[in-house]
């Protein structure tokens, strides 16, 4: 009965042995494990699955997803760092295990800048600062003015301590010299509920969950964190446009392999993802998830990782983000 179906389905997630050094020319001669650092259904996992499907179609070997969620991606990152660099194990994930964890986690078992081989960034999304219906400010300037007049009184929710939403808000506070009261939640849904119910005034989070409510007029879009405005909310100005010069923060998702992976295999995967991301179908698919395709080169990805880590260091020094 269905117990058997289960085991078959579950079995696809079981690690496949990846021993021996493969010759790049033969790659891939067997199935490839794609580690997904977050649980099924979340944005990071959906991207990993989309990329695994396109690589399966491109190379004619199965790219099998293995979900290894936990400790903000640190378990998945550790697993990749311990894997053989033979091209049969890669990791596709949001940026925490690829960069931020190096600064925000004290006992990280690997160094993302040393133990990983960058392949490419796949997609990115801005974060969105939104305000409840009865919030004391509807623009970033009003928010800064209000916070200066009422120090420490501005409540701003984020989807978890050390998440991108928290970091984006902490940078706004640091650069504009205001004191914000950061309130961490367990993910977006409870944060959105409290914003809709007016229990909290502001939230800084990925936009997708908030868009329908902004269109409905129940909450307000205050600012987007990327360098450019976003298509879904053309009237909402960027943080930079509202006075914080050069402010540009995005959530991004990328693919990496273990240290010492063959440049030929890196380049083969990079080109396959690039080729796919140029198609309108791929762009429509990513847009439906609130994302933009940004496939770049391994060197550009290395720079993204470095930039992310360097942004965090002053926040940790100022005590705004506490490593754990």
């Amino acid at each position: 009965m269905n117990r058997r179906e289960f085991i078959v389905l579950g079995g696809t997630a079981v690690t496949l042995a990846t021993s021996g050094i493969a010759i790049a020319a033969d790659w891939p001669s067997k199935s490839v494990v794609v580690i997904s650092a977050y649980p099924p259904g979340g944005t990071s996992d959906i991207i990993a699955r989309i990329v695994a499907d396109l690589l399966t179609a491109k190379f004619g070997q199965q790219f099998v997803i293995e979900n290894l969620a936990g400790a903000a991606g640190a378990l998945a990152g550790g697993k990749l760092a311990r894997s053989a660099p033979d091209g049969y194990t890669i990791l596709i994930s949001g940026s925490a295990p690829l960069a931020a964890n190096k600064v925000v986690q004290k006992n990280l078992a690997y160094d993302p800048q040393v133990d990983f081989t960058p392949i490419t960034v796949v997609a990115e999304s801005p974060a969105l600062l939104s305000a409840s219906a009865n919030a004391p400010a509807k623009s970033l300037q009003e928010l800064i003015a209000y916070a200066k007049a009422n120090p420490g009184k501005v409540n701003i929710g984020n989807p978890g301590a050390g998440t991108k939403g928290h970091i984006c808000a902490a940078i706004i506070g640091l650069e504009s010299g205001i004191e914000l009261n950061h309130i961490p939640y367990k993910g977006s849904p409870p944060l959105l509920a409290d914003l809709l119910g007016g229990h909290i005034d502001f939230a800084l989070d990925a936009p997708s969950n908030y868009l329908p409510h902004i269109k409905d007029g129940k909450i307000h879009g205050v600012a987007v964190t990327s360098a450019k405005r976003i298509g879904e909310l053309p009237e909402v100005m960027t943080v930079a446009e509202q006075g914080l010069k050069d402010y540009n923060q995005t959530l991004w998702f990328g693919a990496v392999g273990p240290k010492g992976m063959s440049p030929d295999i890196v380049s083969a995967i990079n080109s396959a993802i690039k080729e796919w991301s140029d198609t309108p179908a791929a762009q429509a698919k990513l847009a439906s998830l609130g994302l933009t395709a940004v496939v770049n080169t391994p060197d550009q990805m290395r720079a993204s990782v470095e930039r992310e880590i360097e942004t965090l260091i002053p926040l940790v020094e100022a005590g705004l983000v506490q490593p754990s």
């Binding site: 969620a69 400790a71 078992a109 959105l192």
Partner: protein, 501 residues
């Protein structure tokens, strides 16, 4: 669109051959994973989620929903027969359900659970159709302060659940709170009680602890008297509820349904709070509170009705606001988002076929479950007369698979074994584990909401008394606490315990 047209549209969506077939597949699978100890709906839905990406969105959601409420039916089966709660919400079902099974009334307990669930499911579905949009906005008035008060009430009621010593129950609840604190602190990100182990950073999973303490602990205890055990289980008497059973369970089912329907709407602990609030209420108003924990059919019917009603109505905040009340609901949102549908206030106008189709399919699914489960009652009840030396290895294998499947983690299997030993110890010293499990879930929630409420109010604790909802709930909790420790109540309890001796 009015309700009548909506239901017609839903009927035409839900009765297409594909949707009907996937609804059946979903509830069948749900029953099966509910029956298998350890393997719960969250693990099942996570595994099947990628499979739904290739299905039409309504079909996929209908199937996933079927797995979810189907497992609420199936979960009671292991709780009653083997004392293993598959889901947090069936913890209280073990208290009287397993006692009934030991007395040879397994069939009657299972039938009471199935009938209660079906009635509650029907009412819950109807309730969604009538009042979904209205209730969703009502649920938003619950902020951190109100949730905190509700959870305090939950923690207090968890101690009413036991039949043993109050001090032991309090100690077990306290231990549960400590277990719940293991892992990364939400507010500061600091690691607590993790002993530098990466495996503990995300805390202990409820299923790991519950299957260890209840499931393995029970296996260990049963093996102690394996030869004489057959004598302790009375032969299966009647399979179906007697006239007296019907009389005793009708009102509890009605009350359980009411509690479940209302609490299910609250995002957060809806289903869990519903099942044990219903149990606590029945015990409180019963003329024979001393029978609870010793095989009272009210103690099975009411929480089972409540958890199934809540399993239906917890779709309301998910569908109408995009707010998942449980981890399972979060996965369903994932299933919708992948297909380009953002659950939210516009879903009723933009996706009427999806909304009404799901509502109607839930009722059809509940009907299927009744026909699936009632004939099986005889079969399940026979399971308990299988010689234990055949049964216990199977239980061990399934709980190990179930626990492993949550995170693909061998560490979790070791943890379960450890809690199995602990469960055996609790049994030996006569400490009931139900308050521990509930406190382990509710403790961290209480902390999270307390700290959030205080952060938002800038440290002003009077917010808990200035909100009428919160004040009212806290007063009820206080009165309940007073009644537990009052001499009169203690006397009733002690008399009850003496009767049992």
């Amino acid at each position: 669109m009015d309700i009548f047209n909506g239901l017609l549209l839903g009927l035409s969506t839900a009765t297409t051959l594909t949707n009907f077939a996937y609804c059946f597949f979903g509830v069948f699978l749900g029953t099966a994973v509910g029956v298998l100890p350890g393997l719960g709906p969250i693990a099942t839905i996570s595994m099947l989620l990628p499979f739904t990406f290739g299905l039409p969105v309504d079909t996929g959601l209908i199937m996933l929903a079927g797995i979810f409420y189907g497992s609420q039916y199936g979960g009671s089966t292991t709780a009653i027969l083997m004392n293993i709660p598959g889901e947090a919400s069936s913890v209280v079902t073990t208290l009287d359900g397993h006692e009934m099974a030991k007395q040879g009334k397994a069939g009657r307990a299972l039938a009471a659970a199935a009938i209660g669930s079906f009635f509650a499911g029907t009412v819950g579905t109807l309730f969604i159709a009538v009042s979904a949009p209205l209730l969703a906005s009502l649920a938003l008035t619950f902020g951190p302060t109100e949730y905190f008060a509700l959870i305090v009430l939950g923690l207090v009621t968890s101690m009413v659940l036991t039949s043993g010593s109050l001090l032991t129950a309090f100690g077990m609840a306290l231990f549960g709170v400590v277990l719940g604190m293991i892992g990364t602190d939400v507010n500061s990100g600091a690691a607590r009680f993790t002993f530098d182990s990466v495996n503990l950073l995300d805390g202990l999973d409820f299923v790991v602890v519950a299957t260890g303490i209840f499931g393995l602990g029970d296996v260990l205890a049963n093996l102690e008297n394996e030869r004489s055990r057959t004598a302790t289980v009375a032969p299966v008497s009647s399979l179906f509820p007697t006239a007296d059973d019907w009389r005793r369970m009708t009102a509890p089912i009605l009350r359980g349904t009411g509690i479940g329907v209302l609490l299910g709407v609250l995002p957060g602990a809806g289903v869990l709070l519903a099942s044990f609030s219903a149990y606590a209420l029945e015990k409180k108003i019963s003329k024979h509170p001393e029978q609870f924990g010793k095989g009272a059919i009210e103690g099975v019917a009411a929480p089972e009705a409540a958890n199934n009603a809540a399993a239906q109505t917890c779709f309301i905040p998910m569908l109408t606001l995009g707010l998942p009340g449980t981890a399972t609901m979060a996965l369903m949102i994932g299933a919708l988002v992948v297909q380009g549908i953002q659950p939210g206030p516009e879903i009723l106008t933009q996706q009427p076929a999806l909304f009404w189709g799901l509502v109607v399919s839930m009722w059809l699914g509940n009907l299927m479950l009744l026909f699936l489960n009632l004939p099986l009652v005889g079969l399940w009840a026979k399971l308990i007369s299988v010689p234990y030396h055949f049964l216990f290895p199977v239980i061990c294998v399934f709980v190990a698979i179930g626990v492993y499947s949550i995170n693909n983690s061998v560490f979790d299997v070791y943890m379960m074994a450890l809690f199995g030993v602990l469960g055996y110890f609790f049994k030996k010293v006569g400490a009931e584990p139900a308050p521990l499990i509930l406190a382990m879930i509710l403790g961290p929630m209480a902390e999270e909401y307390l700290r959030r409420a205080l952060l938002i109010s800038h440290g002003d604790a009077t917010v808990f008394f200035s909100s009428p909802l919160s004040l009212g709930t806290l007063v009820v909790a206080f009165l309940l606490l007073l009644s537990i420790v009052s001499p009169r109540f203690r006397k009733v309890r002690e008399e009850g315990l003496q009767d049992a001796d």
